[in-house]
């Protein structure tokens, strides 16, 4: 076979499978080979699920040959972030406390992926319990950015973004609490979508901050995200915050957007998410994308969201509070690590403390202690309560802005990918990465990052599109329109310009 199946998008793979040009076993094996060749350098995967993936692929091929009607993505392989539980497959959430844990059940989104016949290639690396913006907080080593192996792939979902950017998988699942899908998308030149809160079931996600967490697609094209979003989205009775009723048609919106006509659409530029702190090349790419949207007929207006500057403060009260509560279940009693204290009585309480002291990494300890402090007697109202008021103010800002514009836009992240270690000792600098993405989580609105070109340093930049709650289709329309306009100016996908990765075979030859 001459065609490299790893270079195809998920929708192209789906078309080729449907037309009988190749089999799911071909496509799955091609991606497993690619993982074997480049993942030594990238380290996007914590676990590769080769046998089961090939078994799924074979079964889909047989069903297709028998004339069964299959889901459009049947046979298209996918990678899953390790914070999502997968029955029979190790799930660590990037933490030593869960090393070797095999969950006894599947997350709802994994059930849907399996039911549709997508071979699961493996589990991707992440910051421990999704706490971080660089994947440097994983207990299992850094994932490297395929654009520059000395740089971070973003986080917390750096593994999913890098896997897709390195052509190790056409599709991946991410989760986004403050930007963990969108910011890795921006710094790796891939597409990442945080759906409306409640749009995708959280059942089976290892929770960090339950009122902010949301799972979504990580892909190389907007259409692929729409296909995956439709598959994993929709009401789930096992998640009490799941949105009942029918979700909007996302694939249709992406197809319509790719047609390139945005006449009458109002695009609001959020004044507070620009200027100081934004790298020059990031701002330049943002301005170029705005010009392209104008060229497609959109009207670009400036909107103000004055309370966005309080979002980071509110986020760093709410997120650790909810995380400290959610992570209380890691007590060494029912699953995961159990460590006994070195001296003194072996009581449950002391075993729990010893287990957590040994099993949690630095950033997790930091956040759990911050959250415990914020929720402790006498502080709850002033801390968590005040932060929840800021949520109201941010929701009001969004409501007012969406009166003036159909979608809101900003750069996804203020800078391109930074070098390993650069921000590790400065938590505040690390947190500032998420300044443009956090407001969407606090308000529950959907957000998408689309690659918008390269900055002066030759590294990818992301363009963020935000839509009102339950209007995810709008960002697919605008994202697909922008993507197609950018592709024409580039003359091909942005990822074609990424450097070739060192492969296991070339290393052996050298």
């Amino acid at each position: 076979m001459t065609q490299d199946l790893t270079r195809l998008s998920a929708s192209e793979l789906a078309d080729g499978l449907a037309a009988g040009e190749f089999t799911s076993v071909d496509a799955t094996q091609a991606h497993l080979d690619r993982i074997a060749a480049v993942d030594g350098a990238v380290n996007a995967f914590l676990h590769v699920n080769a046998d089961e993936a090939l078994a799924t692929a074979r079964s889909v091929d047989e069903r297709r040959a028998a004339g069964e009607s299959l889901h459009r993505l049947a046979g298209v392989p996918i990678a899953v972030k390790d914070v999502v539980v997968t029955k029979g497959m190790p799930t660590t959430a990037g933490s030593k406390i869960l090393e070797g844990w095999i969950p006894p059940y599947d997350a709802t989104l994994v059930e849907r992926i399996r039911a549709a016949g997508l071979p699961i290639l493996g589990k991707t690396n992440m910051d421990e319990f999704a706490m971080g913006s660089s994947t440097e907080h994983s207990a299992f080593g850094n994932t490297r950015n395929p654009w520059d192996l000395d740089r971070i792939p973003g986080g917390s979902g750096g593994g999913s973004a890098a896997a897709v950017a390195a052509f190790e998988a056409p599709l991946a699942i991410g989760t986004d609490t403050g930007g963990s899908i969108r910011q890795p998308g921006a710094v790796t030149g891939t597409v990442g979508v945080k759906p409306t809160y409640g749009g995708v079931s959280r059942y089976g996600l290892i929770a960090m901050a339950s009122s902010l967490d949301q799972a979504g697609p990580v892909t190389r094209t907007v259409l692929d995200s729409a296909l995956l979003h439709e598959l994993i989205g929709g009401y789930d009775p096992r998640d009490s915050t799941s949105i009942p009723g029918r979700a909007p048609a996302l694939v249709d919106a992406a197809v319509q957007g790719a047609g390139g006509d945005l006449t009458g659409l109002r695009v609001g530029v959020v004044k507070e998410l620009s200027g100081e702190g934004y790298q020059e090349g990031v701002s330049a790419r943002f301005a170029q994308s705005l010009d392209l949207l104008r060229g497609l007929g959109a009207e670009v207006v400036e909107v103000s969201c004055p309370h966005f500057e309080y979002a980071l403060g509110a986020y760093y009260l709410i997120m650790p509070s909810e995380a400290s509560s959610n992570l209380a279940k890691f007590d060494g009693m029912r699953f995961g690590l159990r460590v006994e204290p070195e001296e003194g009585p072996v009581t449950a309480e002391r075993v729990m403390a010893a287990t957590r002291g040994a099993g949690f990494g630095d950033e997790v300890k930091r956040r759990v202690i911050l959250g415990t402090y914020a929720l402790s007697a006498g502080y709850y109202d002033a801390y968590y309560g005040s932060a929840q008021k800021v949520r109201t103010l941010i929701q009001r800002d969004f409501a007012a802005a969406f009166e003036q514009a159909d979608v809101l836009v900003s750069p996804t992240a203020p800078t391109t990918a930074f070098r390993f270690g650069e921000k590790l000792d400065d938590p505040l600098a690390m947190y500032l990465n998420d300044v443009a993405t956090i407001p969407a989580n606090l308000a529950g609105v959907p957000g998408m990052s689309v690659p918008s070109g390269l900055s002066d340093d030759g590294l990818p930049v992301g363009f963020q599109i935000l839509a009102p709650a339950k209007a995810d289709d709008r960002m697919y329309r605008v994202g697909a329109a922008l993507e197609s306009a950018l592709l024409s100016t580039w003359g091909g996908p942005l990822l074609d310009r990424a450097p070739a990765l060192p492969t296991a075979t070339t290393e052996l030859e050298g």
């Binding site: 059940y105 309080y310 699953f335 759990v368 202690i369 402090y373 929840q388």
Partner: protein, 98 residues
């Protein structure tokens, strides 16, 4: 000079049931001020007249149909436990002696 003392960090770590090494206590007592800065910032606008929002899309009384559903098989769940005995989780003594 940090606002949150080393003793305070030790007290909260005990509440959070996390054993910290002395060097971890030193480092964290310098890093927790971020929460004091966050609260200072948030307090500028979190005035009494602003209602709190706990969840992005408010929902109340979410029930499923009252139909029994099978739980996970006991052996599957216990297979992942650090210790199990007689079809139950085996845990250390719950109450300290004193």
């Amino acid at each position: 000079m940090s606002t949150i003392s080393r003793d305070e960090v030790a007290r909260v770590a005990a509440l959070a049931r996390i054993d910290l090494r002395p060097e971890e206590l030193d480092r964290l007592s310098g890093e927790l001020d971020v929460i004091v800065d966050a609260i200072a910032k948030v307090s500028e606008v979190a005035t009494p007249d602003v209602p709190a929002t706990s969840h992005p899309l408010p929902m109340t009384n979410v029930f499923r149909d009252d139909v029994p559903e099978p739980a996970l098989p006991v052996e599957d769940v216990l297979a992942a436990a650090p210790s199990a005995e007689d079809g139950r989780f085996a845990v250390p003594q719950i109450l300290g002696e004193e």
